[in-house]
């Protein structure tokens, strides 16, 4: 049973990271990026291209991937955000879905459908205690999530630029009026949000292998987590992610492994019926 907890939390951490990336972008520009899962896939493959194809050390691969994903984020912003500013939400949804389809199929053309492995940045035998096995990589996943959360908290609340980002998230127009460099904060949000997904990809590839269609399911779970926690709510996303990881794992073990994917949706629908704004509530006010 303890093993289920460990595995569930590790899985949940990945979901949480995807959700965090989603929310960073959403908080700033009110766009839900349905291609977030494909960005995760892209991060995994860039990492593999560096570490496996070009045989660079894993740490270097990570660094290059993060920089590359930041650039991808900016390009994404230019291609998706600017043309669709002010358009109805669901056209944006469909545009990001279409972007996801483009990315996934380009990846299939470039890298082919065979799954590929990526070495983990940490090596070593797993920890064993009380009949539970925790691999070094799982510990690394927890550590990465913790570090990112701390960095994000520090950045958003203690640095000047971070506070500006929060202001932009609260009210874009007023922020612009008072002279906040809004475009820069948006760019940083896109870049950072995309890097988070890239990191999730680098964390996932060593245990789940990477193949071009890996993004669909993981992205979807990230959205579900965002909905459960409440859009805009960063701590909510983390708690929601870990929660979902546990539910899926325990559900698959004790209820039925056939409906594993359904648990996420069932929990989401149940939460929404009771709390239409998510467990912890949305930050932004409703747009009339």
């Amino acid at each position: 049973m303890g093993q289920l907890v460990v595995n569930g939390l590790a899985l949940g951490s990945i979901y949480a990271l995807v959700a965090l990336g989603l929310l960073l972008i959403f908080n700033t520009v009110q766009i839900v990026n349905f291609a977030q899962g494909q960005l995760l896939m892209l991060g995994a493959f860039i990492g593999i291209s560096c570490a496996v194809t070009h045989e660079l050390p894993v740490a270097t691969a990570w660094a290059i991937t993060m920089v590359a994903m930041a650039l991808v984020g900016i390009v994404f912003m230019v291609l998706v955000y600017f043309p669709l500013r002010g358009r109805p939400a669901f056209l944006v949804i469909l545009t990001t879905i279409a972007m996801g389809i483009v990315l996934e199929n380009l990846a299939l053309i470039v890298w082919g459908p065979l799954p590929v492995s990526l070495p983990s940045p940490v090596r070593g035998p797993p920890f064993r205690f009380a009949g539970v096995v925790v691999s070094m990589h799982q510990i690394f996943i927890f550590a990465t999530l913790a570090v990112i959360l701390l960095l994000q908290f520090f950045f958003l609340t203690k640095t000047r630029f971070g506070i500006l980002m929060q202001a932009t998230a609260q009210d874009l127009h007023t922020a612009r009026l008072v002279g906040i460099p809004v475009n820069r904060t948006i760019a940083v949000a896109f870049a950072f949000g995309t890097v988070l997904s890239g990191i999730a990809g680098l964390l996932v590839a060593p245990i789940f292998l990477a193949e071009p269609t890996m993004g669909g399911s993981l992205g979807l779970k990230g959205f579900v987590v965002s909905v459960i926690g409440g859009f805009g709510n960063l701590p909510g996303a983390v708690i929601g992610g870990l929660f979902l990881g546990l539910i899926e794992t325990f559900g698959a073990r004790y209820i039925s492994s056939n409906f594993r994917d359904a648990y996420a949706f069932i929990v989401m629908i149940a939460v929404l019926v009771a709390w239409p704004r998510g467990l912890f509530g949305e930050k932004s006010s409703e747009k009339v």
């Binding site: 839900v32 043309p83 669709l84 358009r87 939400a89 669901f90 056209l91 949804i93 469909l94 545009t95 879905i97 279409a98 972007m99 996801g100 389809i101 483009v102 996934e104 199929n105 380009l106 299939l108 053309i109 979807l220 959205f223 579900v224 909905v227 859009f231 056939n258 409906f259 994917d261 359904a262 996420a264 949706f265 069932i266 989401m268 629908i269 929404l272 019926v273 239409p276 998510g278 409703e286 009339v288």
Partner: protein, 311 residues
């Protein structure tokens, strides 16, 4: 005057198609396109007019198809199938609609996706009844008093007639109180409420009518293609239906038909592109959304406007 002529012309062309085109494969493709058009017309009620995102339309399509397949294979007379399909999808749409009436945009989108996934998983794992991932084959065809369409061409005419009926009903609803209520809800729910529109009831009705369209199309799909499997009603199909609506022109009846036919035929015509087809499809959808969000239908009316202004 001109629009009547265009209407008559398109009707004539539509009826003449199978006579001119003897290719069974193309007619089969057109039949699928017509069925898709009916589903998209249903989606239009919910998304185009009432403004509610709905990624669950493929699930209703599937529910209609499976209900018909299971019922007719169990020996029930065919005429019972459409009724059963309607009952099943109405119940399902209520199950989806009632709890979600308070939800907005992204939450609604996710919930409808979830609904679609749950339906699909149920179909896949209820193997003794639904045939699981193998699907159901040798489904009995349409048969009323022992008569039924034989061959692709007769099915084509039956489906065209059904599409015509679907368009007619949609048009009547569009100009009715309910239709105006839907559009008012889409434009601004708060303002609509203030004007006395019961937006909850309107949204629910839109969902139900949309589901009924899809369910009946599913019934005909099962009875004419005679083979169904879960992958024809998956989340990917739901997205495809949405793009048909957008590319054709959200809110426009003609747009629904154009979008459905275009995006059913295009993947087949462009098969030689292999993997690149999906890349181009994605880019195409983005291009339409960015440059012509009203879809192809809006381009057509734009052209009409230009001509009117020029002349």
């Amino acid at each position: 005057m001109k629009s009547w002529f265009m209407l008559a012309l398109s009707a004539a062309v539509t009826l003449a198609v199978p006579v001119v085109v003897h290719d069974g494969y193309i007619i089969q493709l057109l039949n699928i396109a017509i069925l898709n058009a009916i589903v998209v017309l249903g989606l239009n009620f919910v998304t185009g007019w009432a403004g509610q995102i709905n990624f669950g339309q493929a699930a209703f399509y599937g529910l209609g198809a499976y209900t018909t397949a299971i019922a007719t294979k169990a020996g029930l007379p065919w005429i019972a199938a459409p009724f059963l399909s309607v009952i099943v999808v109405v119940v399902a749409s209520l199950m989806l609609g009632l709890p979600t009436m308070r939800l907005r945009t992204y939450y609604l989108a996710m919930t409808t996706i979830g609904f679609g996934e749950i339906v699909r998983l149920m179909i896949v794992h209820w193997e003794p009844v639904t045939g699981g991932t193998s699907g159901l084959r040798a489904i009995p065809g349409v048969s009323v008093f022992g008569f039924g369409p034989q061959g692709q061409m007769q099915h084509y005419y039956l489906l065209i007639a059904t599409l015509g009926l679907a368009i007619l009903i949609a048009s009547r609803i569009r100009h009715s109180v309910l239709g105006r209520a839907m559009i008012a809800t889409r434009d601004s729910e708060i303002a609509a409420e203030q004007s006395g529109v019961d937006t909850t009831r309107t949204k629910l009705l839109a969902f139900m009518i949309g589901a009924v369209y899809a369910g009946l199309a599913g019934c005909l799909y099962a009875s004419s293609i005679r083979f169904i499997s879960p992958d024809s009603f998956s989340g990917t199909q739901a997205i495809l239906l949405m793009t048909m609506l957008i590319v054709g022109g959200m809110g426009s009846i003609a747009g629904c038909v154009v979008g459905a036919v275009a995006l059913t035929i295009l993947p087949e015509a462009l098969r030689f592109l292999g993997q690149w087809y999906l890349v181009l499809y994605g880019l195409g959808v983005i291009a339409v959304i960015v440059m012509a969000p009203g879809g192809l239908a809006s381009l057509a009316s734009l052209a009409q406007l230009r001509r009117a202004n020029a002349g």
